[in-house]
């Protein structure tokens, strides 16, 4: 979009616009950090740079803990080991928040995250597969009663 703009006004000004957001990645990150999930996904389809930034897990970490006081640092290592914040958000936090939306109270925000983490861990365990457990159970398989199977397969 920015490049188009560049193209249309180019002939008028004959030089680059004064401000090109892609030159200022740190500002871009700060902006993208504050977006909600949908906008972030939309932003990821703007250009390659934005896509790379949007895939950065730290942005999703912000989304997960947005309404909650920052968690201890140990959380990050666990979450990253279990599959990353984007997966946590898309697989657990988002469904938890949307489903609990109607009965939500402000004090539940922290518990929601904790519950999401637990379910995330259970999901990881189920995905480990092996043994008589049905390791063919993909994330995409729909089973409305279990949280883990709410989302389509994610290309994380």
């Amino acid at each position: 979009m920015v490049q188009n703009h560049h193209g249309t006004v180019g002939e008028n000004k004959g030089k680059r616009p004064k401000f090109f957001i892609n030159d200022h990645v740190d500002i871009l990150i700060e902006i993208l950090k504050r977006l909600d999930c949908r906008s972030l996904c939309v932003a990821a389809s703007v250009c390659r740079l934005w896509c790379t930034i949007a895939r950065n897990d730290s942005l999703w970490e912000n989304l997960c803990f947005r309404h909650v006081s920052p968690p201890p640092s140990s959380v990050r290592s666990v979450v990253l080991a279990l599959g990353g914040y984007k997966r946590l958000y898309m697989g657990c936090v988002r469904p938890v928040r949307s489903r609990l939306g109607r009965v939500r109270r402000a004090s539940w925000a922290r518990d929601e995250v904790q519950l999401s983490l637990s379910l995330f861990c259970v999901d990881y365990y189920e995905r480990l597969g092996g043994g008589s457990n049905s390791n063919g159970r993909l994330v995409g398989e729909s089973s409305p009663s279990s949280l883990m199977f709410l989302c389509k397969p994610m290309n994380v």
Partner: protein
């Protein structure tokens, strides 16, 4: 067995519960003041009704009320069907003798067309408005908000059939319809009973007198089905196997007309009854991994096991609050689905994770697959991922009573805090004499800081078969209803496997006896008594557990009908008003300080 009118009829004007009070809108304000007055039974007749010209014995009040309800249903049905059975001439009985009149009206319905209620009403001069007021109010009485509440299955016990059981099919059917008409409590099942009270049974009976096998109304046959099941169980109890055999076949027919949960429950119970009659006991030495698979599907589809795991984990987490080394002994490891969440919570504990040791107990392996070790390996992988020191040991044992505490390599409590967890395992020990005592002493030897017990909430360990059957019917009907209500599309593997899982339990409860009957559930209060007797004191589960459980339920789709209840520190999960499983936590009553 009698419908408790006082409970339901708060809003109605006509109510009767054990004959203690009567209220009718047309009686007027003077009577309303007498609402709570105890009944005078000087002449045996209820005084208030006597004022209106009806002679009803106070002792008969509830009975009469119930029959009036049935009559009301009949009237309603007849009008709904458009068949005006009421248009023929009345044969009047003495309407002031209310109980006799109602009885005669009801028996009339089994045969020729009924008397004209309207003309009867017209004859009761000043009181014409009274019964009419009663009827719409009675229809409100029927609104049973817990339509899954199998309040009463009168069977033969409460309402002995007027005819004993001769052989002819037709008579038996008439008997059943009269039984079903006299016991009209709604047996609710999600799909087949949207309004059990409206299409009453007797309405169709008039047609069925000519066609004995009448499957006109699936709701009617639903109630008939329940009654047949009960009658069959009673026959089995009385060792009248010929009758039971005939009834079982009839159940099959009736079940075929049903849909949904009702059909499945009836089919499983019929099969179990048939097994009991023909003494084809299911072999219980089935591949244990098969049961595990079935339970996995059950885990996926409904919240009971998840609830159990989360609430037990919360109790264990709180007990492990400050420990550096923890040891969990799981009496039924299965696939180990409970432990990832606990491990994650321990990993993110504010003070850092403790060293986590898990001892899992499971059935012995028939072949060399060693499922326990595989589960342990998976858990170890998870532990490594999230950064917890993990140790696993698996034990195969046919029964928990075979377990010796020395085998478990217990370490002193100062070094290691122990938690014992049992999900649906303790009730099996009740099958063996001395089993539960042995296990309790083993548990005490383990010196746990906390013992979490999750059990089904039903009393299936009574001495009388019929009672167990009734209770099981009630319990599994609710359970199957909740499966139906989970919103999963029918051709789902999870649903089918879960039903199979429950079906096997039903089979065990109904068909097996003695040591083979391992599904001996007991209620929370029974377990409480038992645990307190052997020296445990309760640990309250706390609001965190309650909050987690509520959140979990709010999350899982199709859980709208489920309720979490707190019961003296224990949590129960149920479907509508019926609690189905209960989690409780215990500690040794004589814990010394410092543990």
């Amino acid at each position: 067995m009698k419908r408790d009118h006082r409970e339901i009829s708060g809003a109605t004007d006509y109510s009767s519960g054990s004959g203690s009070r009567v209220d009718s809108s047309s009686i007027g304000n003077s009577v309303k003041g007498k609402l709570w007055e105890e009944d005078q039974d000087a002449g045996g007749m209820d005084e208030l009704l006597a004022v209106l010209g009806y002679k009803v014995r106070s002792s008969d009040m509830a009975d009469v009320a119930q029959k009036l309800e049935i009559l009301e249903m009949v009237m309603g049905t007849a009008q709904e069907d458009g068949v005006s059975h009421l248009s023929s001439d009345a044969v009047h009985y003495n309407p002031s003798d209310l109980s006799g009149w109602v009885q005669s009206m009801l028996t009339e319905f089994n045969g020729p067309p009924t008397p004209n209620l309207d003309s009867v009403l017209a004859n009761s001069d000043s009181n014409s408005s009274n019964p009419q007021h009663q009827q719409p109010n009675q229809s409100r009485v029927f609104i049973d908000d817990s339509e899954y509440d199998l309040r009463a299955i009168p069977g033969v016990a409460a309402y002995p059939p007027p005819i004993s059981y001769p052989d002819p099919e037709s008579t038996r059917k008439r008997v059943k319809t009269s039984m079903s008409s006299s016991g009209s409590d709604g047996y609710g099942s999600g799909s087949s009973f949207s309004s059990p009270q409206e299409n009453g049974i007797p309405g169709a009976v008039t047609e069925s007198s000519t066609r004995p096998v009448l499957l006109v109304d699936s709701q009617e046959t639903g109630v008939r089905l329940v009654h047949t099941l009960m009658a069959c169980a009673e026959a089995v109890q009385q060792d009248n196997l010929k009758l039971a055999d005939a009834l079982v076949k009839h159940i099959g027919l009736l079940a075929a007309s049903q849909t949904g949960a009702m059909r499945k429950v009836a089919t499983y119970f019929a099969e179990a009854l048939a097994r009991r009659i023909y003494r084809i006991f299911p072999q219980d030495s089935l591949d244990p991994s098969y049961t595990d698979i079935l339970q996995m599907h059950f885990y996926e589809i409904c919240p009971y096991l998840k609830f159990a795991h989360f609430t037990a984990n919360q109790a264990i987490l709180e007990a492990f609050a400050t420990a550096n080394r923890v040891h969990v002994i799981d009496f039924g490891l299965k696939q180990g689905m409970q432990w990832p969440a606990l491990m994650q919570a321990l990993a993110l504990r504010p003070g850092g994770p403790p060293a986590f040791r898990l001892t899992g107990i499971g059935p012995p392996e028939p072949d060399n697959t060693d499922a326990l070790q595989q589960v342990g390996w998976k858990l170890a992988q998870l532990a490594e991922t999230i950064g917890i020191e993990f140790e696993f040991r698996g034990f195969g044992a046919n029964s928990l009573a075979d377990l010796e505490p020395e085998m478990l390599d217990l370490r002193p409590p100062e070094v290691e805090v122990v938690a014992v967890n049992s999900v649906f395992e303790l009730h099996r020990l009740l099958a063996r004499p001395g089993g539960i005592e042995k296990v309790v002493s083993s548990i005490k030897a383990m010196k746990p800081k906390i013992l979490t017990v999750v059990e089904q909430e039903a009393n299936l360990n009574g001495p009388v078969f019929l009672d167990r059957f009734t209770e099981a019917l009630h319990y599994y009907s609710s359970l199957f209803d909740s499966l139906e209500g989970s919103g999963v599309a029918p051709p789902s593997q999870d649903l089918a496997m879960s039903e199979l899982y429950l079906g096997r339990q039903i089979c065990n409860v109904v068909a097996c006896e003695g040591m083979g009957r391992v599904e001996r559930y007991e209620t929370l209060s029974q377990w409480r008594t038992r645990m307190e007797m052997v020296g445990f004191s309760p640990v309250h589960l706390g609001c965190n557990a309650y909050k987690q459980a509520s959140m979990l339920l709010a999350l899982l789709a199709g859980c709208d009908g489920h309720r979490v209840e707190e019961n003296k520190g224990c949590l129960m999960l149920g479907w509508h008003t019926k609690p189905l499983i209960a989690t409780s936590a215990w500690r040794l009553a004589t814990t010394e300080t410092g543990k």
